[in-house]
Amino acid sequence: MGYVAVRGGAEAVARAEELVECLRLMGGSTPLHLPQIRDQLRHAVSRAMHEGALYAPLLAALAVKQAEGDSIEAAFLLRAYRTTLPRVMASLPVSGREMMCLRRISASFKDIPGGQMLGPATDYLIRLLQPALANEDMSVVVRAAERYEALVAIGGQRPGEVGRFPKVADYMRQERIIVDVPPDLAREAPFDITREPLTFPCPRSARLQAMAQADTGSLMSLAYSSVRGYGDAHPTLVELRYGYLPIQVAHPLTGEPITIGEIEATEAEVASKAHSVVNSAEPPRFNVGYGFAFGQSELKVMSMAILDSVLTQARIGSLSGESGPAADEEFVLLHSDGIEASGFVAHFKLPHYVTFEADLRVLDRARDHHAERASRLGQLVDQALEEQR
């Protein structure tokens, strides 16, 4: 059966769906359970949640399973589900200061108020494959629980102590080292790109939301380009923290804040060596960028924070030297959404025989024109064009 003008398209589509389902299971191994994916493929679940812009660990595990581990497809499934949900209410703004940290580090100062806390970090692991992982049974689960308990005991947490820490950025603000981004004066409520069209110039809240649900790899690539030489980023990590954030809503009748749960999240602030001047009366300070994502998603939030800083500088005109594509807000925001980019790149698989037929007719005419240009007049035109170059 030809791809062109597929007749009986309905049947073909149904069969394709069946085949996908069969291929997933035909290896004969035990089907995955969602808690296994949620617990043991933590980063795949985090990525599906932040790129899918929906905090729902078990649904994200389902999406990862259904997508057979494809991160963009998993995020796509979650987004397509999220869009059908009503917006009941907005939660109250939450600050990273409230985070119960499992990890918090700063690259700006050796010692920071509250201390550096490495936590569960892969940064310093020696990347050797561990053959022992290939054949684990339930005994390793028991042993892990015991080891965790021992680690907590060594940590020596004092009773009543909670994992909250002061923010390094607050200290830098106090010392007038960094300057905050000027607020979008015209807007009180944050922009929502899923409810309002994203047009340019856009408020910073739209930029942050777009990047928070963008593809990790795309943000990383753009941020990398800016630090590597096609830009002026020069970032220093003020602080990166990972842990649990309480989520509160206002009681519909009394307005009292009520905690409705907590989310696992990562956030980062990055300071840029490029000086930012709010007005000429003020001394120069470092510009700051912000990154946030669900789950433990450090690469994502650092990329986001670097780009946020670069884009703010580009907006207020304080970039020096080469700006590069990462300083173009439209370029960054319109090309980093994984769902949009993957959809459009993939759409070239759809038939294009109408447009191709039209292209062929224009090609015919270009060929006729080419033949005509072999004439004396054509040679003169060529000569003139050549001289122009």
Partner: protein, 288 residues
């Protein structure tokens, strides 16, 4: 409504607020023919670039009494058309048809049906690029200013250079037009053959670009003029002597297909509008 529609989802999938927002953008688009109206563009279970703009318009418009036709490349059976129709019927339960004349709403990609459309029909086009200035000005902020000032000089220069270099206005499908003597508009990749059908038509044409988040419209009886030069007029793909190998139509857009036969196969030009071709063949059989 049929009984098997998915009760988990609202009628036509989108929630009522989303539909209202889209209809508001549509009203604005109709009031300003050819003007690009930004809209939020919801996520859908269909991938971006596969018809999400047209789909959102259709979902915002259809009522349980509508009769829907969905085509891709002029063909109701093309897999993407089948897939979109499946989603719309599954979430609405509305009646569908392949008969152009029987449809109240027609969603299409890359074609306008050959059969003239009526004033009680709406044609919804899926749009990939939206802004015709993308050829010469990819920056949206600058392009918006150019539209605002009707500053289309760059586009004219682009077309002029293509004539000098390639002997034709190089934009094959998706040909730029001036709507209502004001806005430059992208016709989506419909072939040039379909462009004159937009001019002073009886039908309402709605355009939706999901990924680009823009809606625009050509209301009935609106002047739609392709960009052209006095000494280099707009020409469609039409070639004298062209003829559909199946129904014999001489005045239709044809696409070329490879047809296998006993001697290894041959290339054949047939109508891209499948329903038009089928109707003509049925008519010929009836009168024979």
């Amino acid at each position: 409504m049929s009984a098997n529609i998915d009760q988990l989802y609202n009628f036509a999938l989108l929630d009522e607020d989303a539909k209202r927002a889209i209809r508001r953008s549509l009203l604005k688009a109709v009031a300003l023919p050819g003007h690009l109206v930004p809209f939020a563009s919801r996520d859908l279970p269909i991938a971006r670039g596969w018809g999400t703009g047209g789909l959102q318009i259709t979902l915002a418009l259809v009522t349980p009494d509508d009769t829907l036709k969905v085509i891709d490349q002029g063909d109701d059976e093309s897999v993407n058309a089948v897939n979109l129709r499946r989603l719309i019927t599954r979430t609405t339960g509305i009646t569908t048809t392949v008969d152009t004349a029987a449809a109240t709403v027609i969603q299409t990609r890359h074609r306008i049906p050959e059969e003239p459309l009526r004033d009680d029909q709406i044609l919804v086009l899926q749009v990939p690029m939206a802004d015709p200035l993308r050829w010469v000005e990819p920056h949206l902020e600058r392009a918006t200013v150019m539209h605002g000032e009707a500053d289309y000089g760059k586009m004219w220069v682009y077309l002029y250079e293509s004539v000098v270099r390639a002997g034709d206005l190089r934009i094959a499908s998706q040909y730029p037009v001036i709507v209502n003597r004001r806005y430059l508009m992208d016709t989506t990749p419909i072939p040039r053959w379909d462009v004159p059908k937009l001019h002073m038509a009886e039908t309402l044409y709605l355009f939706g670009a999901g990924r680009e988040k823009r809606i625009y419209a050509v209301p009935p009886y609106t002047a739609v003029e392709p960009l052209q030069f006095e000494d280099y007029p707009f020409r469609t793909e039409y070639r004298p002597g062209q003829r559909c190998a199946r129904c014999g139509a001489e005045n239709a857009f044809l696409t070329t297909h490879f047809v296998a036969d006993a001697r290894g196969g041959r290339w054949e030009a047939t109508c891209s509008d499948a329903n038009y071709c089928a109707k003509r063949r049925a008519q010929a059989e009836a009168t024979a």
